[in-house]
């Protein structure tokens, strides 16, 4: 193995890396992505705000100040955080199973529709606690069944789940648009809006924000235990690693796929319930507001670790709220948060390579060999 015949760059598989080193690489990827995002922001902020470096710092300072500077801002950030974490927890088992559920948006909406039905038509017949419980159960059932449809076809005939779950989003959102302008429209007609919920259909506030944040934090712990310590969690992991292995071990893959998807949709449906009952106190077609997609980022960036998801959700919630402020104060389009999220994902996907492989340049090896 000398000289010219060796390629310039070769790859070799690494032995398992210590966990701190893995997380250090991932952290470096996040920092790099934020650097890229900062450069983009600094480039579009007008030069009146000082030189490039000051604009760069100023952009992130504005994001942090806008998201965490005031009590009301923090509350809004927490409100952004709730659906992100909740939905990420919902899709995590699917992604672990390598079932690409990108229909969380629709499952949230389906859950929201079912919960809204009880809020609109049963609020005068039931006291608050049973009503809220029924709404939550209806949301879970609605989201779960909405997710079960593509799962059934996937399990039975191998229908492409990515596109199926996605198309289900457009279908249910179109349905809500119809409800809004049709049977559920508030009086007097013409507003294209559904009425605000009665007081007993709204979630109470704890520490200034509706109590959904407690629900998602509890869900986080439950999901961690479910994935790590239960038989079902183990089955999900095996199916994700290799369907053939799962089948050989006697697992009923179709059943696992359907059960996991129902669970996933049910959690998304509960998020939908939280959104209509806690955040908006009504239903509209944009109830999910992109949470279903951003949650994919959250789940993947945190390597499907529930506690990691809380951290990443918090980061993205700050970014989301902060970029609102950035738009009003410095005229940076609010879509910057999506751009940075995308870049974050790219870097994170790319850095996994350096965790699994090492790159050897020509000539390096001889030196190492002579040591």
């Amino acid at each position: 193995m000398t000289g010219k015949k060796t390629p310039l760059i070769r790859l070799a598989k690494r032995d398992a890396m210590p966990s701190w080193q893995r997380w250090a690489i991932r952290l470096a990827a996040i920092v790099l992505a934020l650097l890229v995002g900062g450069v983009v922001m600094a480039a579009v902020i007008s030069p009146d705000n000082g030189n490039f470096f000051r604009r760069f710092i100023g952009a992130y300072a504005t994001v942090l100040d806008g998201a965490l500077g005031k009590k009301t801002a923090i509350r809004q950030t927490v409100k952004n955080f709730i659906p992100l974490l909740g939905t990420a927890l919902a899709i995590a088992p699917c992604f672990k199973m390598r079932f690409w559920n990108i229909g969380a948006e629709g499952q949230i909406t389906a859950g929201a529709v079912c919960a809204t039905y009880f809020a609109l038509f049963w609020a005068d017949k039931l006291p608050q606690v049973p009503l809220l419980l029924i709404m939550a159960a209806a949301g879970a059932l609605g989201g779960g069944l909405w997710a079960l449809v593509p799962a059934f076809f996937k399990a039975r005939w191998g229908t492409n789940e990515t596109l199926f779950t996605l198309m289900m989003n457009y279908i249910v959102i179109g349905f809500v648009k119809w409800l809004q302008g049709g049977p559920w429209e508030k009086q007097p007609k013409g507003s294209q809006q559904i009425a605000q919920f009665a007081e007993n259909a709204c979630l109470p506030k704890v520490a200034g924000v509706y109590c959904g944040w407690i629900v998602v934090l509890v869900l986080m712990v439950v999901m961690f235990l479910y994935m790590k310590y239960t038989k079902q969690g183990y089955e999900i992991a095996v199916v994700g690693e290799s369907e053939r292995t799962a089948r050989y071990a006697g697992m009923n893959v179709g059943k696992i796929v359907m059960r996991t998807m129902f669970l996933s949709g049910a959690i998304a449906g509960i998020v939908g319930f939280l959104l209509v009952s806690g955040a908006n106190n009504t239903l509209y077609d944009g109830v999910a507001d992109g949470a279903g997609f951003t949650a994919i980022t959250v789940a993947w960036l945190s390597q499907l670790n529930p506690f990691g998801m809380a951290g990443i959700s918090a980061m993205l919630a700050v970014l989301e709220k902060g970029s609102d402020t950035l738009q009003t104060r410095m005229a940076v389009p609010v879509a910057i948060s999506d751009v940075i999220t995308g870049v974050l994902l790219f870097f994170m996907l790319g850095c996994e390579f350096f965790i699994r492989y090492k790159v050897i340049f020509r000539g390096r090896e001889e030196k190492e060999g002579t040591k």
């Binding site: 492409n160 990515t162 389009p333 790319g350």
Partner: protein
């Protein structure tokens, strides 16, 4: 009769953005790369294409020529999509990342970039990014002489469309010829079916995957520009564009990875999208009618998976990465 004619014309007009998206993705998937970022690339293409036409006109003023603007819009839309697809290729082919997640990341990134640019141009130009009527005509009117367009029935049906309809059909025909009749096309299909075999036969798998994905992404992105410049009326409209890319990905399955079927498949879906305008049914409310294309897509997905015929299968290695060392 006249109603049907109008519907067919509208179907072809509205289906053209889908045609570009689909044909581009067919090329990508033939190499074994499943790029789910079509939606993102179409957003980027839409924003950059509009930007190119707008800033070109702003730079040269009244002397702006229609054909140059069209060419620039195509070029920049292509480059935007190619850049997005290059990121995808680098991550999935060179860095071996998961294709599904990378495609979703490209969608998030691309829709973000598209909206960011659309909004940024709007703010910078104080309000409105729109090209003048004379330039709009170059994008939206038929390139054929008046007397051909005035022919009864045939004139509308064959000669009345904007230039992108004809260009899209040409691209689909060339693609069909390339994939089915050329040596490079055969080698590309070999890469998609069985990269290990192709590699052993001395085909440069990496180069084919990169080229097919980048060119395919560029073609898909032109579809986004076509949507913005024709269907949306040459202003930035991200709500209208939303979903086009995903329908294109679904259409690839519908047309069974053949560009020729994409020709009528895209027209069919273009028709489904506007059917509620041309064939209103009193018992179906408009809002529910509008979800028809998505319902049909679901039905198609199920139908395709039910009829497992040998010749109707996706490229064998679709979605999985190829590492020579891990054979």
């Amino acid at each position: 009769m006249n109603g049907i004619l109008k519907l067919i014309v509208a179907a072809i007009f509205n289906g053209t953005p889908l045609l570009y998206g689909t044909v581009g993705e067919v090329l990508t998937e033939k190499s074994g790369n499943l790029n789910l970022g079509v939606e993102g690339m179409m957003y980027m293409g839409g924003a950059l294409g509009l930007g190119a036409a707008f800033y070109y006109e702003k730079a040269v003023g009244a002397a702006a020529s229609g054909p140059v603007a069209v060419a620039l819009a195509i070029l920049f839309a292509f480059l935007a999509g190619a850049a997005g697809a290059l990121i995808f290729s680098f991550l999935t082919v060179s860095l071996r990342a998961n294709q599904n997640v990378t495609g979703l990341a490209l969608t998030i990134f691309g829709t973000g970039v598209g909206q960011f640019l659309g909004e940024y141009m709007r703010v910078r130009e104080q309000g409105y990014v729109a090209v003048s009527n004379s330039l709009k005509a170059a994008f939206q009117l038929s390139p054929f002489p008046r007397f051909l367009q005035d022919l009864p029935v045939l004139g509308q049906l064959l000669f009345g469309y904007n230039i992108f309809v004809y260009l899209g059909i040409a691209i689909a025909l060339v693609m069909a010829w390339f994939l089915g009749r050329t040596r490079a096309g055969l080698q590309l299909r070999a890469v998609g079916e069985s990269p290990a075999t192709a590699d052993a036969a001395g085909i440069n798998v990496t180069r084919y995957k990169y080229l097919a994905t980048v060119i395919g992404g560029g073609i898909s992105a032109i579809g986004g520009m076509v949507y913005i410049m024709t269907v949306a009326g040459a202003v930035w409209n991200h709500e209208g564009l939303s979903g086009e890319g995903w329908l294109a990905v679904a259409l690839v399955i519908f047309c069974l990875w053949t560009p020729l079927r994409a020709l009528w498949g895209s027209a069919l879906f273009g028709g489904l999208m506007v059917l509620y305008l041309y064939l209103p049914l009193s018992f179906i409310p408009g809002q529910l009618y509008k979800i028809l294309p998505y319902v049909v897509t679901v039905v198609v997905l199920v139908a395709v998976s039910l009829r497992q015929k040998r010749e109707n299968q996706p490229p064998e290695s679709l979605g999985s990465a190829y590492f020579r060392e891990e054979r």
